[in-house]
Symmetry: C2
Subunit: 432 residues, 2 copies
Amino acid sequence: MSDLSKRILTNETRNRVGETVKISGWVHKIRYLSKITFLLLRDRKGIIQCILENEWLHFKVENESIVEIIGDVVESKKQKLGVEIHAKNIRIINKSQGDIPFEINQSEIKAGMDHVLNYRTLSLRHEKSQAVFNIQSVISHLFGEFFTSHGFTRIFTPKIVSQGAEGGANVFTLDYFGKNAYLAQSPQFYKQMMVSSGFERVFEIGQVFRAEEHHSSRHLNEYVSLDVEIGFVEDVHEIMNWETELLKYMFTNVNLQCKDELEKLGVKLPLITEIPKITLKEAQNILWNKYQKSSPEGDLNGEGEKLIGEYMKEKYNSEFVFITNYPNATRPMYTLPSKNSDLTESFDLLYKGMEITSGGLRIHEFEMLINSFSNKGLNPDDFTSYIETFKYGVPPHGGFAIGLERLTANLIGVANVREATAFPRDIQRLIP
Amino acid sequence: MSDLSKRILTNETRNRVGETVKISGWVHKIRYLSKITFLLLRDRKGIIQCILENEWLHFKVENESIVEIIGDVVESKKQKLGVEIHAKNIRIINKSQGDIPFEINQSEIKAGMDHVLNYRTLSLRHEKSQAVFNIQSVISHLFGEFFTSHGFTRIFTPKIVSQGAEGGANVFTLDYFGKNAYLAQSPQFYKQMMVSSGFERVFEIGQVFRAEEHHSSRHLNEYVSLDVEIGFVEDVHEIMNWETELLKYMFTNVNLQCKDELEKLGVKLPLITEIPKITLKEAQNILWNKYQKSSPEGDLNGEGEKLIGEYMKEKYNSEFVFITNYPNATRPMYTLPSKNSDLTESFDLLYKGMEITSGGLRIHEFEMLINSFSNKGLNPDDFTSYIETFKYGVPPHGGFAIGLERLTANLIGVANVREATAFPRDIQRLIP
C-alpha cells in the first residue's frame, strides 16, 4: 500500500502493480463506452490510462482540467506503460472551462504558428513541446556543467548598458533615470572585461536583445546567448577546439539524458567526432564552382550557408562546419586581425546550414584596439570603460557565443526558431 | 621536463619541483634588491614568487602587465605554496601602461566604493573580489544542479514584456517597434505559466529590473533572481521545505568547493539544519515587547528585519528565519489567501536580518484570481494572457525567488550588495 498522502508520477506506476496509488495531472482525453469510461491522465512524465467503472462511469469533466485519482495499478500489456489505473476515487482539483482553441491530445496541434503562440500556455502542454523545452533545459545545464568542470567562472553582466552596446542601429533604447541607456546586444565587452579582471575563463547564460526588423523564421529580437570567453589562448584553433569539445559533451549527454524526448520527436542525434573547417574563401569557391552561386563580399548569405551545410554533410558526413578567416571588413571592431593580411582570427559555426555561433580571437593590445575602433568609424570616447581596461594588462583571449534557441531548433529539426522559444519576441509579438 | 608549449597554473607548480615550467599571468608586485629581484606573478589560481637573477636582475616591467615566465620550480619552505620559480626567461605579453588608480597587491583596496566601481576591471583583480565572484559562480551553479537533480525544468522567459509586468510605478519602459514595452520586474507570471504549461516544476536564473529610486546599500536596479515555481504542492510549508533543502545543499557544497575562497575572505559558513519559522504577528510582537519598536502595518521595516535576525541568531542560533502569514493587504495580487482570514499563504526569508526571499502559494483558480486583481484595484484586462491561462486547468502551485547578489553579500559578510555585483546598476551608475 502506497502512502496516499503523496502523489506519484505516471512513470512511477510501473513499479507499483497491485498497489493503490494517488496520481494527479491534466485530463488528456476522456472516452465513454457503455460499460466503461477511459480517462487519460497526463502529468510531466507522460500519460496513463485510467479505467472508470460503476459509480465513476458517468464522471463528467472537461479536457485539461486538473484531477486527482486514487486507484489500483493493474498490469495491462496493451498499454505502452505496461499498466493502467482502476479508479476508486476521482477529485477535480481545478476545472477547465472548456472551449480550448485547439486539441492538445492529437499527434500534432492543428493550428497555425500565430494561434499556437497566442495560446502558448496551452500549446506548450503538447507532448512534443514538452520534449523540446526539456531538451533545451538539459542543453543549457550541460553548457554550464561542461565549463564549470573546466574551471570557468560563471558571470552575470548587466543587460542595461550605456557604453556596453556594440553600437549600430539595432539597439533598444530606454530611459534610465533621465539618462539614455540600451539593452545589451551581447555580453561581448563585459565578458572580455571579466577575462581581463583575472577570472581568465568565463561563461554566461543570458538574454540578449536585438532591435532588428527581421521577419524571418530564424531571427528573434530577444534570445538566450551561451557565451564563453577564454584568456591566455595561443590561437583561434584553441577556441574552435573548446566549442567542439562542448558540442561533443552536449550531444553525448543529451542522447543519454533525453532518450524519451528524442524518441517522441523522432530525432536521432549523431555523435560528434571532429568538426571540419574551411575558410570563407573556400566556402565561397565551392558555392561558385559547384552551385554557380555568388556570395556577398566577405560573407555567406542564408542560401549559401544552407548549401555549404548540405555539401559538408554529403562530403564529410558532418552536420557542423567551421567557416574561418573572415576579412576584417565584415567582422566587429574587437576582432583580432591576422598578421600580414586583411583577414581575421575569426570563425562562424554552421549547424545544418545555419549559423549558430560567431567566435574568434579578440584584440588585447590597447593601441591596436584604439586604431581598430577608429578604422571602423567609431569614436573610442564612446567606449571608454571598455577601452580603458586594455591599458592595464589584458591577456590574449578569444571566445564564442551560441544562440540557444537556434541550437535547440536545429537539434530537434524544426524550421522555425519560435518552436524552440517558450515566449518568442519578434517585431509583431510582445504577448504572451 | 614539462611541455613548455603549455602554460601551467601557479597552484600546479607544487607537483613539479625540479622541473622547468611555463607560467603566465599578471605582475602582482616586483621588488629589486641588490643581487636579487622578486617578481610575484598572479594567475586565476593564486600568486607565486619568481626569483630573477643575473641577466634578469634589472628586468623592468609595470605592475599588472601580462608576462610569461619559463623557469625551474624550486622547493621553498618560506612560501605558502611551498615552491618558487627561478626564472630562466621572461617575456612581456602585454604591458600595463602604469598609473593604476589604486594598489591591487595590498590586503585591501584603499579606495572608496565609487572609485572601486569606476575601475571595476581593476578592482575585480583583487584576490578578495576574485573569491567573491568565484563563490557566486558556484552558488548559481549549485542552484541549477539542485533543481535539475529533482526533475525541474530550467526555463527562459522574456525580459521584454508587455502584460508580463506586475505593474506599479517601478518599471523601466522602452519603445518596442512602436509599442510600449517594459523590462520584466520578475519572471513571476511566466514561471507560473510554465508550471501550468505542464512542466510542473521549473526554475530560472535571470536578470530582473526595478526602476526604484533607492539610494541604499541593499538595493540594485538590475539584479539576478534565482526563481523557482512548483506545481501540485499541498501547502506553503512544502515550499519552505524546498528552500531549506536548497540552502542546505548550497551551504554544504560551497563549504566543500570554495575552501580557498572562504579562507581568503575569513568566512566560516554554518551548516544549515532546520530554519525556524515565526509568523509576522509574532515577529512584530517580539519587536514591540523586546525592543519597543513598532512595525509598519502588515510588514517589517529594515530595522525590524535586522533586530529579528539578531533575535533568532541569539535564541535559535540560526542565521535564517522564515516570516510567515503576511496579510493580504501587503502581498501581490497573485498570492493565495488563507482560508477564513485576511492572511495569506506566504513567507519571506531573512538571512542575517536581510530579506533575501519572498515566496508562497499562488492563486490557481480563475474566479479567485479575477477577484483578487479587482480587489487590488487592477484591471484584469491589462493581464489577459496571464489570466486566460487560469481558464484551462492550473494545478495548485507556489514558489519563491532569491536575490543572488544579496545572498552572496550576506554569505561573505559584506555590508553593501554592490561588493557582490560585478557591474552594479543603481540610480547613479550605468558605467562600466
